[in-house]
Symmetry: C2
Subunit: 370 residues, 2 copies
């Protein structure tokens, strides 16, 4: 049974768990905040559901990620910097990099920081949204494990490489484009699988160049490399799949080349000996201080006007509403805020396992029998 | 009959024509260079084919564009600037804005310039490619006449709003993502129409929410507003059309809100009296100086390595090769450089009309009977 767990309880548990495995207290709170913020926005694919496989297991069991983040500023110039994260906590690296970009933008109007030797930094919009709170436009991207096949190719080469913008508005929530450059991500296919649905055609390509739709089989084939995700725009050129492929390529370059780090197949997380090894991910973070161009309130109003005009334009017959980027995440928050995050049985087991392994006896979950 | 016209002849004619209608000599050469560079790259939709309808007619007949560009720097701070183009020549405005961004990036690492009251600036990659020649990453975008319908909408609201990157490599040509955020542009539908082909399904949506495929009818309906282009990713959400829609929205905001200019329906080019009026387009230009992050040659090699690995990955059965972004444009140049630009009969007539209207008797085209 899916059980809603209050956000504050879940966040406190995550922070305590990170701390129990060696993450310093303030960093542990940062990591918990990144994950819970994703859950609050309804993006379950990047929240507490990833706590065990992506963070806990990699630190505790695979030992390919460092709980103590050695944040080394390799190069720091006017509006730019390069950081080495030494395989520490991606969210801590991400937050500190974006803070630096924001400070630089305050001074120069623009700031950009790139990170090398990082690890999974959670949902990418977290960092651009920090810029919004500072009255700035934020931009971020990251490379990732090879998943997307190039146009006319069938091999998983590029990560799902999100290209993410967040922009302040005069509304209750910022404009956020939190998009992988593939059509969908693995998390969505897992959802199709749980619901017993086929994956729509065109979203996954196999080594024979055919689309695959059997969700359970797709999940296996993506791991083995027998199948790959298709870029935004789809297979081939007729519906402009080369554009999603091109954006994924640009994100790969911006993430890897400015910091001279790993790219493409080097990001498999598997060493030549077949054993797990640090991913060595790269990210980029950019902040644009609006006040260097125009009045912030005027900017926010123009942006809000654009969004409102889009929403109020003519709907397709049968469509209830037109959403603007980031609106669904805000609606998810309104829906969830008094209930909490939905925790299914598989996730309940993971939470109990981690708690027991770390002896965090002070936490007892409402789904556990008394 | 389609006649290939040597690039240097065509460029000289365009420069002379621009000069004859009041564009100062240096600016006329800039405008001709932007257009001819598009033709050289095989992007016929943005080259000499637009000389008459988009530039000549708007200056000479509609009188909604100024041949003399009053380039006013409204605000100039460290890494940022705002420019007012006063409805002058978009290519002149674009080139000067990107030059400013490059100079700022040389000093601070980053530079960003936004323009208001501009006009059509040609193919968007021209400006980011200027950054590449300076050893920098370039980024540009522009808003445009309303064409794209939002996800779940049917009304043409957003321009084809390109989001364009150009990145230096160690190869013969830079990585360029010169992409409208719609699946296709009007120019491609014109091509389908000329070839007597239907427009593939999913690329155009009508007011009833249905896709339209009759190319000739689509071209009329796009003008009347009875049909709209769909965003990259297609109709609805299943293939992630909301991502193309989101990118188009971000480009609209970056183009309009930082310079407090026109947006969406305000960009129709038609006044309340039903007569043509200046579009008041907005653009943004960004330069990122690579040497502020790392060694330029090392960066170029990493980028080149990424592109080469993509090209050499496993091809789909039947696919001859995997292209990387910008490669097809380079191949078009190799194919065309000794021949020139293909000039069809409709375009031949336009060239003759403009020449005769301006009395440029020194030009005689090879397709004219002796």
């Amino acid at each position: 049974m899916v059980y809603p767990l209050p956000f504050d309880e879940l966040e406190a548990f995550m922070a305590a768990l990170f701390e129990s495995i060696g993450v310093p207290p303030e960093d542990a709170r940062t990591c918990a905040d990144v994950l819970i913020t994703s859950d609050k926005r309804g993006i379950d694919s990047h929240g507490v559901g990833r706590l065990k496989p992506i963070y806990y297991d990699r630190i505790v069991h695979q030992k390919i990620q460092q709980p103590v983040t050695q944040f080394e500023i390799v190069r720091d110039q006017a509006a730019t910097a390069v950081v080495d994260g030494h395989h520490g906590m991606g969210m801590v690296i991400g937050k500190r990099c974006m803070q630096m970009a924001i400070e630089k933008a305050r001074t120069y109007g623009l700031g950009m920081v790139v990170a090398r030797n990082s690890t999974h930094y959670g949902f990418a919009a977290y960092y651009p949204m920090m810029a919004c709170r500072a009255g700035m436009i934020g931009l971020s991207g990251t490379n990732a494990r090879p998943s997307i096949a190039p146009t006319f190719g069938v091999e998983n080469m590029l990560g799902t490489n999100p290209l993410v913008f967040a922009i302040p508005t005069d509304e209750e929530f910022p404009l956020t484009n939190d998009y992988a450059t593939s059509i969908i991500q693995r998390g969505k296919i897992e959802q199709y699988d749980r619901e017993g649905k086929a994956c729509p055609p065109g979203l996954v390509i196999d080594r024979q160049g055919q689309t695959k739709t059997d969700s359970a089989q797709v999940l296996k084939d993506l791991v083995s490399g027998e199948a790959a995700l298709t870029p935004l725009g789809g297979i081939g050129e007729e519906t402009a799949g080369y554009k999603g492929y091109g954006f994924a390529t640009v994100v790969e370059v911006l993430s890897a080349a400015l910091q001279q780090g790993n790219f493409l197949k080097q990001l498999s997380g598997i060493g030549e000996d077949g054993k797990p090894r640090p991913y060595g991910l790269g990210h980029f973070f950019m902040a644009i201080d609006i006040e260097h161009f125009c009045d912030l309130a005027a900017f926010q109003k123009t942006t809000g006007d654009i969004l409102r005009e889009l929403r109020h334009s003519q709907k397709a017959p049968g469509a209830e509403r037109i959403y603007t980027p980031g609106e669904k995440e805000y609606l998810a928050w309104l829906e969830r805020k008094d209930k909490g995050a939905p925790v299914d049985e598989a996730l309940q087991k993971q939470l109990v396992t981690m708690r027991d392994e770390q002896g965090l006896k002070q936490f007892r979950f409402p789904f556990e029998k008394p």
